[in-house]
Amino acid sequence: MPPITFTDEDFKALDPDHDDAMVISIEVAEYGIGKVLVDQGSSVNILY
């Protein structure tokens, strides 16, 4: 498996001076779902 690296080119957002959370879109059971919070502090996956 190739190594996973991040460079400045990976930053595509508008405001580079931020402390924002990771909110992405995914597909669950063939439904597109927005407002998905990536939370490394949580021990469970949650559907609200």
């Binding site: 930053f11 959370a21 992405i24 407002k35 949580s42 559907l47 609200y48």
Partner: protein, 259 residues
């Protein structure tokens, strides 16, 4: 989302927030989850816990999901990378605008609380009667005799009628010596020091105060209340207050004497 209830596995455990607050769960279910773009990504079956909570997010991906995908997150780059099925590295960018909207919305929403059963607005009078000893009072056995204590003719108390004369005299002396303990109207007992007895409301600090609606009273009851209020006000028991929001309705409790 249109989820079949059959798929939900009941799960009666609570989960804990970062400050230890407990959150009820409805159950869990396993769902095929795709992360990535149209052309490149990966699908993994992920177990989701169903939680009823007011949040600005639809889904929260925790460590089980992130590790199943092998996701490396860089919050600095607002991006995450993971290996796809084809051995390439997928990148998923976060949407900064939506992130900020969710965050701002999250600060505004109120915590979820279980919908409670609607309380009846009209409460039966007897339900609110705190007295437990509702049986008739103990009555003196045998004949009774009235002895006059106060200045007015009706101000009497009863003693046993079968006492010997010397006992009766002794009892009469004691009662008369302590005649100030008898109250003939509420004006005779105007002040109870808070040290003697004080009500304390056990209030949940987090609870939202709810103002009570004004309840309509029948004409007869309204008159009785007005009369009693005037009496108590005259005796200095109560005084008029001006904050009208937090007033409780008058609850009438029938006296044992059916008055």
């Amino acid at each position: 989302m249109n989820l079949s209830e059959d798929l939900i596995v009941p799960y009666n455990e609570q989960i804990f927030g970062y400050s230890g607050e407990r959150v009820d769960t409805r159950g869990y279910l396993d769902l095929r989850t795709w992360i990535g773009s149209q052309k490149d990504g990966r699908e993994v079956r992920v177990r989701f816990l169903l939680v009823e909570a007011n949040t600005s997010y639809n889904v929260l991906l925790g460590r089980p999901c992130l590790n199943a995908f092998g996701v490396i997150v860089s919050t600095l780059h607002l991006a995450m990378k993971f290996p796809s099925d084809r051995g390439t590295i997928c990148i998923v960018q976060a949407n900064q605008q939506i992130t900020r909207q969710c965050y701002a919305a999250g600060l505004r929403i109120t915590p979820y609380s279980r919908p409670r059963k609607q309380h009846r607005s009209e409460v039966a009078m007897t339900d609110l009667d705190p007295r437990t000893n509702t049986e008739d009072r103990i009555q003196p056995g045998g004949d009774t005799k009235e002895i006059l204590i106060g200045a007015q003719p009706g101000q009497v108390t009863k003693i046993g009628g079968t006492l010997k004369p010397d006992e009766e005299e002794l009892l009469g002396v004691i009662i008369l010596e302590n005649r100030d303990l008898f109250a003939w109207s509420s004006a005779d007992m105007p002040v109870i020091h808070p040290d003697v007895m004080s009500h304390k409301l056990a209030i949940l600090k987090e609870a939202r105060p709810v103002a009570q609606k004004k309840r309509k009273m029948g004409e007869e009851r309204r008159r009785a209340i007005e009369e009693e209020v005037k009496k108590l006000e005259g005796d200095g028991f109560i005084k008029e207050i001006k904050y009208t929001t937090w007033l409780a309705n008058v609850v009438m409790v029938k006296k044992a004497s059916r008055k």
